[in-house]
Amino acid sequence: MSRYLAPAGLEEALVALAGGARPVAGGTDLVVGVRQGRFPIPDDLVAIHRLAGFRGIAEGADGGLVIGAGTSHAEIVAHPRVTRDWTGLADASAIVGSPATRATGTLGGNVANASPAADTVAPLLCADAVIVCRSTAGERRLPLDGFATAPRRTLLRPDELIVAVELPAPAPGSASCYVRLEHRRQMEIAIVGAGALLRLEGGRVTAARVAMTALAPTVRRVPEAERILLGSDGGAAAVTAAAEAVAAAATPIDDTRASAAYRRAMAAVVTRRAIGGALARARGETVTIPASDTLFGAA
């Protein structure tokens, strides 16, 4: 029989974690994982979704954003700064699961779970996100790049909680986009996905981030693709070459949903679409959120 603790304050939760308890936020990964028999239900659970100050989005002094780890995907999509300046993140949170999943699942859970298919991670990598972790021993701030070390493994220590995700202010002229491929338009694990952030200055790309989803053991950036874009005019040749670089860097799996060969081919397609979406937004054109085709299930 497992024990379930629902503390009101962060300190109490951290003490419980130090004592070996496992955190549960929305439970949309944890409960499903237990049900599927991927792991046993932890002996001690500490519920963190109601912790004071854990949920919500605050604007940082430097024009950046601090998103509480307990913020739901639905709250992220509804936030005007996110949809304006971190559009790629909005693209991702808008397609997580169903309305129920988005109302319950949290950003912290998505990051901590470290699934190779987690949708928010690629746009967060593009945004140079920093993960704020707390334990009874104090606070650590870790760059998201490198935070996930393997499928479902991160640098987080067992007694640590992610309390927030910090996003630095976006550079002027930059824009982002996230595109996922999945065949039923909703409630499906990404077959492949790609995030891109581009800064355009005088017709030149002066900053580039490209990250890929479900194409490697962890969601990760693809520096080869970023280098191709950097300094280019963002034209078709550069975009295609960057997309090919992502396909070349990918190490996709083969499963019932799709073969590795199909995933690799699609890596180039979604990357091209994500870069295209980011460029269009950087030029001030409207690309609806989410950028992926959701058909009748639009958020």
């Binding site: 491929l181 039923r184 338009r185 909703q186 019932t256 799709a258 199909y262 397609v269 959701t294 009748f296």
Partner: protein, 769 residues
């Protein structure tokens, strides 16, 4: 939304929700597994991890040590007395496990949790045997056998369920050396097939394949068995046919029928699956332990261990002359029966594969082949989705090669009443011509040439031969003027609402004033299993007859009270009145109260309708799918869908449209997403809804449902069964739409994005023979 066929107020053709709609939508309905039973034990299944193995021994000590576990039951512990080569006679594997997921033991405990903990602690010692997975290879005399059979096959039980479908005159089968895995063989031949194909201007040869498909109903299988003091059993079960369950359980357990009582619980969907899967497990355990036992499957058990639709291979050769006249159809069908072949689906497919089309010559061979996969079941329209996918795709391709409009090709070759079906049975009146008229008029079809690049519209026609059965129903006037109908027919699809309308119409009262009681199997008069589109068509006739007899008794009584000849009276809107003098009418309720439901000399105002097996009344559909194909990813987006169906007479249009929309969505599942997949050792790798991809609402466009009415001569008011035809023809419509959009012809279901992309890249090579 389409305009209703009939005005809102009409009893026949009025739009009313099914009587249990609110309970179902709000989730307050109580399914079998929700019922509280004092002293109930819960069972969990131990499933085989091997697709084929000899079971050497079971270690149960650890399981029995789990607090709350009462027993671990194996095949030997169930008091089965009957013999039959159907799975229901061997609900637990004995010495041989024949598919991965086959139940080997039941762990019975005081709580579901203890049962689950126990089931995880039963260890099975088994020796793997050769696994047979490729149905075509398994036909070879040198193939290993999927199953050691105790006795020869006996498909009789099933023919009674799909009575009237198939099995007429079969041609002599050519001599072939076949293994004993081949358990079903059917051959229909007419004319000179070689000559007909040789004389054709165009011949299409294709090999179509369809995967195993799961019914994916909301409620998993469940049954609760309670032993009775007389040594018998009472069963509450989610079942399509309680009388069928009762007679089979009596045979299985060697019990007199009087000691077997079966009550149907509200069905949370069934689609042909809920036929004696959990029943023998629950009854066997209850009889063995002398306590109430419930077997309620988890979703995983339900996916792995029940009875989905079989995988199939359909090789077709179809020819036509340049003027569009169809010449010959040669077909070779191989249906994977899985470990049990009790449903002989290939026999139905062998007839449906000819479609409603006229062939100068045909030669159809069908084989049912056992393999080490879960036993096959009668998924909605068994054989129909597979057969219609093949033939309707082939016709579309033929039309393209001939340069003839696909609708026109179908019109020119449509069978007329009396023309022979594949098995020689004359076609009864069917509605395909009226459906094709509707297709032609529909703007989606008319405008299909003006679509943007990458979009296409496809047509597919579906036919279900129909099913028919004898049935009896009783009707009783209550003291408050309402009418009570008693039947043993389980309401699988809202048929209660249709019975209300038919009885109300025949009696002269409002549908709300008719109560339908679904009585327990041992109480009800003869009632068929719900399936094969049998209920409205066959049982509806008895409802009308029962209500009519009760009405005659009411009129005799009213005649005495009003001193007017019965022939001069009518019943309108619940009022008995003299023809031509409505103001002198007396409400039915008043008459009923006066006599407390009794009539002349105290004769009860009741009726019984007993009808014999009617003639076949096929149902038919026309599907129009409008798709957009992403040429870079292969993703198919269904932008629009039109389903036209011949209902004979639309008694309850809202319920018919529900069947149509549901069937269209299931058809889209067949077309684009659904497949039970197995690895090379026979392990199912789609054991949850994560991997088994049912359609999501978000990927389904609004479905336009249009009803046409071509009356069935024997149907109640001309009505036909409508349950199966909506799932026949849809996959072909999507395949034909993809071909229209891209030029690529998909011959393998489901047409997933990777398959579509491969077909586009290969030019038109995919699937070509």
């Amino acid at each position: 939304m389409t305009a209703p066929v009939h005005p809102e107020s009409a009893v026949i053709g009025g739009r009313r929700a099914r009587p249990d709609a609110r309970e179902r939508v709000t989730g307050s309905i109580r399914y079998c597994a929700d019922e509280a039973v004092p002293g109930l034990l819960h069972a969990r299944l131990v499933l085989s991890v091997y697709a084929h193995a000899r079971i050497d021994s079971l270690e149960t000590t650890e399981a029995l040590a789990v607090p709350g576990v009462v027993a671990v039951l194996t095949a030997e512990d169930l008091p089965i007395r009957g013999k039959g080569d159907m799975r229901m006679f061997s609900p637990l594997a004995g010495r041989e496990a024949v598919f991965a997921g086959q139940p080997i033991a039941l762990v019975v405990a005081e709580t579901p949790e203890a049962a689950a903990d126990g089931a995880a602690r039963v260890w099975v010692n088994a020796t793997p045997l050769a696994v047979v997975l490729d149905a075509e290879a398994a036909m070879d005399p040198s193939s290993p056998l999927a199953r050691e059979r105790a006795q020869e096959h006996d498909g009789e039980e099933i023919r009674s369920i799909h009575a009237g479908i198939g099995g007429h005159e079969e041609a002599a089968a050519p001599a072939l050396a076949l293994s004993r895995n081949v358990v079903g063989r059917h051959h229909h031949a007419r004319g000179e097939i070689d000559a007909a194909l040789a004389a054709s201007d165009v011949v299409i040869r294709r090999r179509y394949t369809t995967p195993w498909v799961y019914q994916a109903y909301l409620e998993p299988h469940a049954a609760t068995a309670i032993p009775t003091a007389d040594g018998g059993v009472e069963l509450a079960v989610a079942a399509q046919g309680t009388q069928y369950a009762r007679s089979q359980l009596a045979k299985i357990f060697g019990l007199p029928l009087a000691k077997v009582r079966v009550r149907g619980t509200p069905l949370g969907g069934a689609f042909g699956s809920k036929l004696l899967v959990t029943d023998p497990l629950a009854v066997g355990a209850a009889l063995a332990l002398g306590r109430p036992v419930r077997v309620a499957m988890t979703r995983r058990e339900d996916i792995l261990a029940t009875n989905p639709a079989p995988g199939s291979v359909l090789e077709l050769e179809v020819g036509a002359r340049a003027d569009g006249t169809l010449t010959g159809l040669r077909a070779r069908l191989v249906f994977d029966s899985g470990a049990w072949s009790e449903w002989t689906i290939e026999s139905i497919a062998a007839i449906l594969v000819a479609g409603p089309w006229r062939w100068e010559a045909l030669d159809i061979q069908a084989f049912g082949v056992e393999t080490n996969r879960v036993g096959t079941g009668s998924y909605r329209g068994p054989g129909g989705p597979q057969a219609s996918f093949a033939i309707e795709s082939a016709l579309d391709e033929l039309a393209g090669r001939l340069g003839i409009d696909p609708l026109e090709l179908r019109r020119r070759n449509l069978s007329q009443t009396g023309d022979p079906m594949a098995d020689g049975t004359p076609w009864p009146v069917i509605g395909v011509s009226a459906i094709l008229d509707e297709v032609e008029r529909h703007p989606l079809w008319a405008g299909r040439a003006t679509l943007p690049a990458g979009e296409g519209v496809g047509l597919g026609v579906g036919v279900w031969a129909g099913a028919c059965a004898p049935a009896s129903v009783s009707a009783r006037l209550e003291g408050d003027g309402t009418l009570t109908l008693i039947t043993g027919v389980v309401d699988m699809s809202g048929t209660t609402g249709t019975f209300q309308a038919l009885a109300a119409h025949a009696f002269g009262i409002r549908p709300e004033d008719v109560t339908v009681i679904v009585a327990d199997a041992h109480v009800a008069l003869t009632s068929p299993t719900s399936g094969g589109s049998v209920v409205t068509y066959s049982v509806g006739r008895s409802v009308v007859a029962a209500a009519t007899e009760a009405r005659e008794r009411l009129l005799r009584y009213a005649s005495q009270e009003m001193e007017i000849e019965p022939g001069d009276l009518e019943v309108v809107d619940g009022i008995v009145r003299p023809r031509g003098a409505p103001e002198r009418g007396i409400p039915v309720a008043t008459l009923a109260a006066r006599g407390e439901g009794k009539g002349v000399n105290g004769q009860p105002i009741e009726g019984q309708g007993s009808t014999e097996t009617p003639a076949l009344a096929p149902g038919s559909t026309g599907h129009l799918a409008h798709v957009r194909v992403d040429q870079e990813t292969g993703e198919v987006t269904v932008l629009g869908y039109v389903l036209i169906q011949d209902a004979g007479k639309a008694i309850s249009p809202a319920l018919i449209e529900g069947q149509m929309r549901g069937g269209a969505v299931q058809g889209l599942g067949w077309a684009l997403w659904e497949a039970l997949r197995f690895d090379e050792t026979g392990q199912p790798i789609t054991g949850s809804f994560m991997d088994y991809a049912v359609p999501r609402a978000s990927a389904i466009p609004p479905i336009e449902a249009r009803i046409v009415e071509v009356p069935a001569p024997d149907g109640p008011l001309g009505a036909r069964g409508v349950g199966e035809a909506p799932v026949c023809g849809g996959a072909a419509a999507v395949a034909n739409a993809i071909a229209a959009a891209t030029g690529a012809r998909l011959a393998t279901l489901p047409m997933t994005a990777p398959e579509v992309l491969a077909a586009i890249s290969a030019g038109d090579a995919n699937g070509a023979a």
